[in-house]
């Protein structure tokens, strides 16, 4: 406590400007953009026709919309110092429940969608209550609810609910300025969340909560409420992802979200979040998701077998985070 500044000097360094610090706090995002541009350049040279085309770029975006929506929600959650393993199962569950409501129960589409979103928020809030009120470790709590949600999804959805109403599936396949609607939805969601997380008083409390919950409580921030709110929002966003996916392919299956939670967490960590909370931006989440999708796409174009994709993505994640951690220790 006394001499912590022996390690990190409190004496002004020469040539240190205010801007440097701001830049430094975005180091992960900037490094990732650099790496992304490098890969784009490399593959544009190696595969000028198949890789470097509008169609391929569009395909990358189309495929990342689902995980992208999950990732921006996950970023908000990780900023508050929590995380959620159940989001993939939750997306599947809300997808099939919404589909069941419109197909089997015959509800009008908007009502079914609204109910689905509300159920997602409720399921998320449940996770939040377990973690914030009953102090169950987030890993355990959401591992448990993941099993529950996946089970419900299979019970309701069975082998899949197909031939969803035209008015529903048309929405997910509509194109605007050459991009599919889910992509636009992701962009809109990211923009709104970025605005909130960066500039609104309410959302900015999440950074304090994630950074030091005890100090946040003693600063008058309602830590429990904030965490439950973030979880509920994650639930609603996961539900949205599930509904959008079902709309895009016109079918709701109970397994669409399998593994998506880990993909989303990986992308968000890659984009600068920390499992111990208090760090990260929505831009970071988007860059992380895009980077992962890009690598996947590049591997497919290079005709690397699918077995290798997991290996490469895993290695990239571990390597990138290790490098970042190493670099930031060097700076000290």
């Amino acid at each position: 406590m006394t001499d912590s500044n022996d390690k990190k000097p409190a004496i002004p360094m020469k040539g240190f400007r205010k801007g440097d610090l701001r830049l430094a706090s975005y180091s992960r995002e900037l490094a990732l953009i650099g790496l992304t541009l490098f890969i784009v350049a490399l593959f544009s040279i190696l595969y000028p026709y198949s890789f470097c085309s509008w169609d391929n770029f569009n395909a990358i975006l189309r495929n990342l919309a689902f995980e992208g929506i999950l990732a921006v929600g996950m970023m908000v959650l990780l900023v508050s110092g929590e995380f959620d393993l159940s989001v993939g199962a939750m997306a599947s569950m809300i997808g099939v429940i919404t589909a069941w409501l419109m197909k089997v129960a015959g509800w009008p589409v908007p009502m079914a969608v609204a109910t689905g979103l509300a159920l997602g928020a409720l399921a998320g809030a449940m996770n939040g209550v377990f973690v914030a009120k009953f102090r169950v470790n987030a890993l355990i709590a959401t591992l448990g609810t993941m099993g529950i949600f996946q089970g419900i999804a299979l019970l309701v959805g069975g082998p899949g609910i197909t031939f969803l109403p035209e008015s529903f599936s048309r929405v997910g396949q509509t194109e605007l300025l050459g991009l599919q609607l889910p992509v636009w939805l992701l962009a809109a969601l990211a923009l709104v969340l970025h605005g909130f997380l960066a500039y609104s008083r309410f959302f900015r409390q999440l950074y304090y909560v994630g950074s030091n919950p005890k100090a946040a409580r003693l600063s008058g921030i309602h830590v429990d409420r904030m965490q439950i709110f973030a979880s509920a929002m994650m639930g609603m966003i996961a539900g949205l992802a599930g509904i959008v996916y079902a709309s895009r392919i016109g079918t709701a299956t109970a397994t669409v979200g399998v593994g998506a939670e880990l993909q989303a967490i990986a992308a968000v960590i890659l984009g600068g979040a920390s499992l111990s909370g208090g760090k990260g931006t929505i831009w970071g989440a988007l860059i992380g998701v895009f980077f992962m999708a890009l690598i996947k796409n590049a591997l497919i174009i290079a005709r690397v077998s699918s077995e290798w994709q997991g290996i490469v993505l895993g290695a990239v994640l571990v390597f990138a985070v290790a490098l970042d951690s190493f670099m930031s220790r060097q700076k000290e």
Partner: protein
């Protein structure tokens, strides 16, 4: 001192450079066997860096170390230093909470029996002896996290003893200890002396140095300033050497004390409902008031309920009941239920917690975000205006003289005194009617300490009721207009500034225990 004059440890010309600063420059330091050598200096003077080099955490850029008859030893890591017989009791506890006390004492070197299995009987037996030696009577099979912070500190000492080290370093060992525990620790250190071990003692408390040490070395800005024999120096001379200037003796002009102000804070019959926590201190029917413009100190032993009282006033403690009136507005009557910290802040109470890093600061966040953390609403109800935060934070940085590169610097990189000033700024910004500060100068160097005292005093004269919780009696006597003493969850006495002496406070604080 003993006749043996070959130093146990001799460090010569030690240099260490970090990015941007020369942390140590040509520092000489030696300790004789059977000697207690105190090491003092302001925060950032290089004490910790020197000790980290000694324990193998850092490698020096230059200089040589001779230890225990061996010339030019190199400690590539902590294990190497430990093998040579160097043990360090760090101020920041490095224990494994869920593991037993014995497992902690013998971490990584548990006694083994046949087949290389851990000999638990021997380990517990040995631990029991060590615990008795440092003066805590607990079962070594208990998990460490069940102990109070000061007991944990003593487990650290037991761990160092178990190494049978030739040199033991104590880094601010008494910061978390009560009077009795401190006495016990001193007895342990004297025993080490008799055993001809060399002891390095780091402390901000000068009284202890004069009680305990043979010699004292002063570091300033990474340089060796002086090595003095304790019998030939005075606290005044030491402070001058540490600070580089003479500090005026602290005394405030109390003639300005507003006399018959109406009470700003009134507390009536504040108690804890008996819960299922036998280990907790319970507050029992506490009545007191604080007038505008006065500094009230809450004194008492560790565990007497001072912090619990503060948390109850601040709305951060459940199951308390009683009446709290702030500035004529009733904050709580009857049960605690439904009142939150936010309500207390809104009513005008501020609280600087005892444990800065644990409960006060957002370490990785910037100075500006820390200062704004309890008053976000001032910067926009819906949208937060960063420009405004930066401006306000910079004003505080200047007026409180926080030494930093600007307000975007993360607080983790500041010294203890500057971190405390950031916390003070955070609560000044709330514009409290009553400000409670819990151990405001623990681990803060003498220069910053005087400054914090002055700030608190000035604040009170601007009409804020200031409550200072402190175990540092000279501090209590220096700042308080009135001293309330607590013992076992009750108020055991009240002394005016004129009446208060260290003896009287200690008497009141231990009254109930003695009866």
């Amino acid at each position: 001192m003993t006749c043996n004059s070959t130093p146990m440890l001799k460090m010569r010309g030690i240099c260490k450079h970090f990015v941007g600063v020369q942390a140590l420059q040509e520092v000489d330091f030696e300790v004789l066997p059977g000697e207690v050598h105190a090491l003092v200096g302001e925060n950032g003077a290089g004490k910790s860096t020197l000790m980290h080099i000694l324990s193998g955490v850092y490698q020096p850029d230059g200089g040589r170390i001779d230890f225990n008859g061996e010339n030019e030893v190199v400690f590539p890591d902590e294990q190497a230093a430990q093998r040579h017989g160097i043990a360090i009791v760090f101020q920041e506890r490095s224990l494994f909470g869920p593991l037993s006390i014995a497992e902690n004492i013998f971490a990584g070197r548990q006694p083994t029996g046949r087949l290389g299995l851990v000999d638990r009987t021997a380990m517990f037996e040995e631990s029991r002896k060590l615990l008795a030696e440092v003066g805590i009577d607990v079962d070594p099979r208990l998990p460490v996290e069940r102990l109070s912070p000061h007991q944990q500190q003593l487990v650290e000492v037991a761990k160092a003893l178990s190494l049978h080290a030739h040199l033991i370093v104590f880094d601010e060992p008494t910061a978390a200890l009560t009077e009795t525990e401190t006495d016990h620790l001193f007895a342990v250190i004297k025993k080490l002396k008799e055993r001809q071990a060399a002891v390095v003692y780091i402390s901000h408390r000068l009284e202890e140095i004069f009680l305990l040490a043979n010699r004292v070395t002063v570091l300033k800005d990474g340089r060796h300033q002086a090595t003095l024999s304790v019998s030939e120096t005075s606290p005044r001379e030491l402070i001058t050497a540490m600070v580089g200037r003479e500090l005026a003796a602290v005394s405030f002009d109390r003639s300005l004390l507003p006399g018959d102000q109406p009470p700003l804070l009134e507390v009536k019959k504040l108690s804890d409902a008996s819960g299922n926590f036998p280990r907790r201190v319970q507050l029992k029917e506490i009545d007191f008031s604080v007038r505008a413009g006065e500094v009230v100190a809450l004194a008492g032993l560790a565990g007497s309920g001072r912090t619990e009282l503060a948390l109850a006033l601040f709305g951060a403690r459940e199951r308390t009941h009683g009446t709290i009136v702030v500035g004529g507005h009733c904050l709580q009557r009857g049960n605690f239920r439904g009142r939150s910290v936010a309500d207390s802040i809104a009513a005008g109470i501020g609280y600087l917690p005892e444990d800065r890093k644990e409960a006060g600061l957002f370490l990785e966040k910037s100075i500006a975000s820390n200062i704004a953390s309890a008053s976000l609403k001032q910067f926009g109800r819906v949208w937060t205006q960063d420009g405004k935060i930066a401006k306000v934070a910079d004003d505080y940085r200047k007026s409180l003289k926080i030494a930093s590169r600007g307000t975007e610097q993360p607080v983790v990189s500041l010294s203890g005194g500057n971190q405390q000033k950031v916390l003070l700024a955070k609560w000044l910004l709330v514009k409290p009617k009553v400000l409670i500060v819990d151990e405001p100068t623990r681990g803060v160097d003498v220069g910053a300490k005087a400054e914090i005292h002055r700030l608190l005093f000035e604040l009170s004269r601007q009409g804020v009721g200031v409550i200072v919780i402190s175990s540092d009696l000279p501090e209590v006597l220096a700042v308080a207009d009135r001293v309330l003493v607590m013992a076992e969850g009750r108020l055991s006495g009240e002394l005016s500034h004129e009446e208060a002496t260290e003896e009287r406070i200690i008497h009141l604080a231990s009254q109930i225990e003695a009866a």
